[in-house]
């Protein structure tokens, strides 16, 4: 591994570690709440907290491990991947987390399109990691927030991403965040108070397809998306 690559991995790991602290803190507090008030409601809350925060933390760790594992593969075998199918599965896996954050997931599949050349597990992992971060950042207290998962054809390829009615998300912010990854405590400062680990892990995964997370617009919504290249052969057929 080159020095740059090792350093980049180190920064990504730091970002991940900062993000994963939070679920452990919430579980610790949930346990303390139960000890202080041992009743059925608190027990139920503890179990929900454990289930919810564990799933997002585990997803993030798994996505990170996937990115590390892929680095050791001598070549990445691509396959035709149906983005609509990936989005369905992503939406399903994000649903309970979204619901707990008063968010509603919406799927928008714009038009008919063929598969892209990618790896399904990598694309789904990237979108799920992105999704958890996005839900954390976009959800607002006492407000129902709609999170849109969309795929559509653009001049750059098939664009797939996650969108919402968010402000303070722009290309400059994301560009700066990449520089601050693992160094600043909140690289996505204006958009999110967290370490942005989900965004950077998604970036690392999309990098295997020579693409990256970018700020994108979908109708009147803003979000984070990646462009993937359609399979020209399969589209012809």
């Amino acid at each position: 591994m080159s020095d740059n690559s090792a350093q980049s991995q180190g920064l990504l790991f730091t970002t991940l570690a900062e993000q994963v602290k939070l679920p452990f803190i919430t579980v610790k507090h949930a346990a303390e709440l139960l000890r202080a008030h041992p009743n059925k409601d608190e027990l139920e809350r503890l179990l929900q907290t454990i289930a919810l925060t564990s799933s997002s933390a585990l997803k993030l760790i798994d996505s990170y491990l996937l990115s590390v594992r892929l680095q050791t593969e001598s070549r990445l075998d691509l396959e035709p991947v149906s983005l609509s199918s990936v989005l369905y599965d992503t939406a399903e896996s994000l649903e309970s987390y979204a619901k707990a954050h008063d968010c509603e997931i919406e799927l928008r599949l714009m038009g008919k399109f063929g598969p892209v050349m990618a790896r399904r597990d990598v694309v789904q992992s990237a979108l799920e990691s992105l999704g958890y971060s996005f839900i954390d950042a976009a959800s607002k207290p006492d407000t129902k927030t709609k999170i849109t998962l969309a795929v559509r054809r653009t001049k750059h390829g098939m664009s797939t991403g996650i969108y919402s009615d968010v402000s303070k998300l722009n290309s400059g912010l994301l560009k700066q965040a990449r520089v601050l990854k693992g160094v600043a405590r909140q690289p996505l400062g204006d958009f999110s108070a967290g370490s942005g680990a989900g965004v950077f892990v998604a970036d690392a995964l999309f990098d295997f397809f020579d693409t990256s997370v970018r700020v994108a617009r979908f109708e009147n919504l803003f979000g984070l998306a990646a462009h993937l290249q359609p399979s020209l052969q399969l589209n012809l057929v």
Partner: protein, 130 residues
Amino acid sequence: MKILLLEPNRILAEQYSRFLEREGFEVTWCENAQDGVAAADELKPDIVILELLLAGHSGVEFLYEFRSYVDWLKLPVIILSSVTQASSGVSDATLAELGVGAYLYKPKASLSQIARLVRKSLKPELKKAA
């Protein structure tokens, strides 16, 4: 006694609020500095619990703005952060200048410790109220 809690993580905010409310405090939660300033103006809290890492506006910036209002100059502030003071780069001098009574690191701070610190910070007011 009214607590203004500035905490960007919803789940943590709910936990802090629930525990502190059971300890007899009234808690208002804001997830960012902008809402925090507006809430402080409306609510006139007795104490502020603040995470330094707020989206769009750091906790320190919020404190400087907060302290610029005469009404809030002597309001007790506790920092409850997911970064250590050493990592935060905020010096003891700055904390003293901003009237921060305590700096707690979230992974180490228990809910009961937070409640005890709030009571200690509010002591003269609690005696007055009693």
